[in-house]
Amino acid sequence: MTANQMSGEMNAVFTPSDSQGSQKTTVNRLAGGQIDRSRRLRFTFDGKGYLAHPGDTLASALLANGVRLMGRSFKYHRPRGVISSGSEEPNALVELRSGARREPNTRATVIEMFDGLEATSQNRWPSLSFDAMGVNDLLSPFFAAGFYYKTFMWPKAFWEKLYEPIIRRAAGLGSLSMEADPDAYDKGFLHCDLLVVGAGPSGLAAALTAGRSGARVILADEDFRLGGRLNAETLAVGDQSGADWAAATVAELASMPNVRLMTRTTIIGAFDHGIYGALERVSDHLAVTPKGKVRQTLWRIYSKRALVCAGAIERPIAFVNNDRPGIMMAGALRAYANRWAATPGHRVAVFTNNDDGLRTVADLRAKGVQIAAVIDSRPDAPALSGVEHLRGAMVIDAKGRLGLSSIVVRTASGDTRTIPCDALGVSGGWNPNVGLTCHHRSRPVWNDGIAAFVPGNDLPAGMTVAGAAVGHLTTAAALRTGAEGAAAALADIGHSAALPDLPRAEDDAPRLTPLWYVPHKKGRAWVDPQNDVTVKDVKLAHQEGYRSVEHLKRYTTLGMATDQGKTSNVTGLAVMAAMTGQTIQQTGTTIYRPPYTPVPIAAFAGRSAKEDFRPKRLTPSHKWATEQGAVFVEVGMWMRAQWFPKPGETTWRQSVDREVLATRGSVGICDVTTLGKIDVQGTDAAEFLNRIYANPFAKLGVGKVRYGIMLREDGMVMDDGTAARLAEDHFVVTTTTANAVGVYRHMEYCRQCLWPDMDVQLISTTEAWAQFSVAGPNARKLLQKIVDQDISNEALPYMGCAEVTVMGGLRARIFRISFSGELAYEIAVPTRYGDGLIRAMADAAKEFGGVVYGTEALGVMRIEKGHAAGNELNGTTTALNLGMAGMVNKKKDAIGSTLSEREGLNQPDALNLVGFRPVSKDALMSAGSHFINAGAEANAANDQGYMTSVAWSPNLGHYVGLGFLKNGANRKGERLRAVCPVKDLETEVEVVSAHFIDPEGERLRA
């Protein structure tokens, strides 16, 4: 069947009965290919409807429908078509899908077709074929590399107001939807003996070798069809086509339980110790992500060995106007024809410097595509028959703004000829795909034999490379090195694998005579098409001294586009090398960085997005508090009840004031489970705590609790809390909520690294005990209804503790300690009884008019009492600052005590924690205010300290504050300015004792 017959048939097939009228016929669909012609899929591009088949990509379908113009370039907004058939595509970027699922900058070459696909061109206005910003192209002489560094400096204010907004609007590529991504993403972890990256001939041979040996193998490929170039070529493997051999091999691999085939999976990066990142596009090929499924999964693959079989990427030859839509890589032309049965045109020319480009000629001819001419830069190239083969010729220009119409050729004799054509395939040779091998900063090395970089010697540990990726550009060598590479990698980990009998395949290394760009005096020849970097830009960078490859890249933006220079870097380096007279090896390369291809930010986040960013830790009373209508607040990972609104209360202050007054007037209950709890046991437990805390603990009696401060080794207060001695060799330490994890880690450090022979064991029991504070004059009465034993003042005095039972036998612990300044206890029961206990206590409290209070009331009461909390323990305050200098015992070794003696921490005007009240009772105070002496100007030089915490005291009827003031301990009664410029607030305050309530501590001991 000829192509014409085929397309006639196609037209018949594609005359849709439900046609919208505007649908184009598939004029450029050829015979054959790996598409399912039995099904047709509808899609739109820029609102226009087209038809495609399963197996198509958006790029192949557009080409088949006669669409060559697919995008606009970044800087000059030049019209662009697709140039590649893979993930290296720099030009054909579209916005895929619509609404909240819009994906800007999506490469048409990797968009797998589905029914109903919507794509829109981007970076153009008002339309793709007429883009107003195309005026940039006319102004291009003014927009040479780095022009913006030399102008737009005057007048100064114009940058943000005028120049930059214009530049920002013109720049960028696609647009975000500005809606939250509605899809779900997953993360997963995989382990294997051998990871094979890429499922072309070398990868398939490698996986086959390793798979048959029984090793655990993962074979990953970014494509939706495994086989790599075997699917794009007509070269035979054994007595099959390459594609058939690939399919048969894949089928065998799929039958092996020890082999995991991962299609649509890109290995994005090589990380330390054999860990590879991989992105699997689970549902991107479907119109809608199925319910309960994810769009993509980010895998971490833990491999013992990895074999990179990533193939090679064809490179262009730069010539004037080489960016016209319709000019593409010769290998891509072949891939579209062979795999997708699509062609950008029916009259095609080929421009090559190597034998591989000639394969395109043969394959297209076999598909019935007319070859306009073959321009071969090599005068000594093997002559082709049946086509016009211009040897020693070069393409010097291309015409056709929105689509190629002709090329201009300079022949070996120096004549100039114009050759009409609607597509041109260009081959400048193939660059081994070394990206992954460079992720640990290995530099590739130049190989003169193939005029390309190949992987260097210092690859990531455990990584080897096979096939075209290491410079073996024939199918036979790919198969062989893949199999051998797998066997060698496995042998390295003590696993033997027999080499399979490999089929015979072509083994003629293509001959190549390097040609990087066609010399030109006028016009522009593109090196990096997306970022609009031309040969002249590289030359200008050289002229201005930006000659290091990194300067070249940064000055011209070469290789910084979304393809990370996959098709442009080496060409740019070659141009620079030609300028400097150095070799390309001497010129060096920039560093390929992860990810190999761009990865959605959402995929890196996985499930940890939006409200699921971090897990929620719920307190034992959470369910009960929810029933009570509590308002919750985030405290680290915890959700704590902030206050409990009652009917009729319209502001949070009403609720909080009520809770405070009821607690101080009768009794209040608060869930304090979030405080860290560390169980300390062993014969050296007391001595251990003696060194952890700045104040002494060695002689604390059994049944007693002591408040303690822990210092960091630098003398700053790390945390405060209590330690209760339940037995001679058993303590329970409490920490603040914020420092629970850090204090435990620190104590383990001290135990294991500093005093390894101490007989002491630690375990965090924060989650094991539900703990409630019960505070207020009726606290004992309430608790006596709960606790089975006598808790009278005699039986359990202030700072006493005991192991008791509650509710008729449930084991519990009780500590007579107080944060609020009231007669108070903390009672702890195993966590699973926390819900029961809060219900019982809340019930019992009713008799006394008691309340359950939240963190706000807790905060108010601790400020009223002058207790330091997070705002005061901010990591820069010493015991001296906090008024606890006397607690730092100098007669023992304790963490932090030595360095707390440094002069800078003991200056006479050091900050002291004191209380503040507004001079005018009604005045507002604000935490974060700075203190300025009365009459002094409010500036940094006059800064006397800062307010740390402020609360409205319903007991006192005015605001109360805590703060650090220079020499504050000696300034009681002084009036100061508390200035808060960011709130436009200033308050006259008086320095007072930090203990606003019960300064003598009588209530505690009642």
Partner: protein, 416 residues
């Protein structure tokens, strides 16, 4: 050669034949009055101000690779002067003022863009801390605004106000903060220094220091011995390595910080936004890429590359704070070596060796400091006295207990 719009037009019309190299490529001389080790932003700025502001001559900058190849070439381009502590705030404000006139000063458009830096807060305690910091800024004469939730929404309506794990309660905004085209800073200083006679010597690695009787005589390099009356070291992540040539141990660890850029997008984010409940901050470059980062990987490293846990952590923060970026793609990740100091603040000081001076410990905040760091270091080199805004940046502050610890994390570099 002076750059101007006129010059650009003239060159455009005459085929760009007149552009000269931005800096020379001189061979090292036998000796200099000043040798600056490190051709990054700070070293080049030091040389520039030594020549321009302190009228010094016979200056060389030695760079082991290519200039601007360290952290000035790989950072997230943010400038701000929103510090809390007295030791820091005046210095960073000095830097901000220099940024504001920098391009005209060195005749190179570094795209200094004061689009605002917004720190978000998510708890009451955090708001209190921001209030204190904003007030400290204001008392230092620096702009600062405390925003409530609605104020944040007006500036950044695209943030996650509906389903956040840690709701946005407000923010501290410095409108004068913003971003700068980072490479251009190195190039602008290099060009400005070169035009004032400074020798910028690339591919010249310092391999030793010649010190006799407590005085430095010069440096051994991969290109031979270079004599110097004074040597200033400004090598960021390589500080410990270079200063070990003088037998010094520093209060510095080298850590890797990763940063990320997305594919180019039409304008999304107006300024710089930092998340207060996760490790994520973001801005958008003039080219359209979202430039973002988070925390350091946390382990000592000279590898200039990081690992996946931090990449994921940063993106999780991003997807928590602004899930509109979910379908934007991360294009490139890279890692730089940070000279993490023991209190999170830098050192610009003399050493125990006569004629040897040190500038380092910038942690991951060195970029915004570049102009003031260069100026203050030049001041110290030229006058032997600290610049008035950099007086606190002394080595002996740790011995004396005068740490400048903005975060309050103590002597653990990976927590700053």
């Amino acid at each position: 050669m002076r750059y101007s719009g006129f010059r650009v037009i003239r060159e455009a019309l005459t085929g760009h034949k007149g552009w000269q190299p931005a800096w020379r490529d001189p061979a090292p001389q036998a000796s200099y009055d000043y040798v600056i080790i490190g051709g990054g932003g700070h070293g080049l700025a030091t040389a520039y101000y030594l020549a321009k502001e302190f009228n010094q001559a016979r200056i060389a900058v030695l760079e082991k690779g290519y200039i601007g190849g360290g952290n000035v070439g790989r950072n997230t381009t943010i400038i701000r002067s929103n510090y809390l502590l007295d030791g820091n705030e005046p210095f960073y404000e000095f830097s901000m003022k220099l940024w504001e006139g920098l391009e005209q000063d060195f005749n190179f458009n570094a795209m200094v863009s004061q689009r605002g830096v917004l720190n978000l807060c998510h708890t009451d305690a955090q708001r209190d801390a921001y209030t204190r910091r904003g007030n400290a800024m204001r008392l230092n004469g620096v702009d600062a605004e405390l925003l409530d939730r609605e104020g944040v929404r007006r500036i950044a309506p695209f943030l996650n106000f509906d389903s956040a794990r840690f709701p946005i309660k407000g923010g501290l905004l410095q409108r004068r903060g913003g971003t700068v085209r980072h490479d251009a800073v190195a190039w602008g200083y290099a060009r400005g220094a070169d035009s004032r006679g400074v020798d910028i010597i690339q591919n010249c690695e310092v391999t030793g220091m010649r010190i006799e009787n407590g005085r430095i005589l010069g440096v051994e390099t991969s290109r031979g011995f270079i004599g110097a009356k004074k040597v200033g070291c400004a090598v960021a992540g390589s500080s410990s390595k270079v200063m070990s040539h003088a037998g010094m141990r520093l209060p510095i660890e080298s850590h890797v910080l990763q940063a990320f850029v997305s594919e180019g997008l039409k304008p999304v984010i107006p300024g710089v936004i930092t998340y207060g409940a996760g490790h994520f901050y973001v801005s958008q470059s003039d080219k359209g890429g979202l430039v973002f980062g988070g925390d350091i990987d946390g382990y000592n490293s000279y590898a200039q590359r990081g690992n996946m846990p931090v990449v994921e952590d940063v993106c999780e923060g991003g997807m928590s704070l602004m899930p509109i970026i979910g379908r934007a793609r991360l294009l490139r990740m890279w890692g730089g070596i940070m000279d993490m100091s023991m209190d999170g603040s830098p050192i610009i000081d003399k050493t125990d060796v006569d004629g040897l001076y040190f500038n380092g410990g910038w942690c991951y905040g060195g970029f915004k400091a570049t102009p003031a760091s260069g100026w203050a270091f030049a001041h110290l080199l030229a006058t032997d006295k600290p610049h008035q805004t950099a007086r606190a940046y002394r080595f002996d502050r740790f011995r004396k207990g005068l740490m400048i610890d903005e975060k309050g994390m103590g002597a653990q570099p990976n927590l700053h």
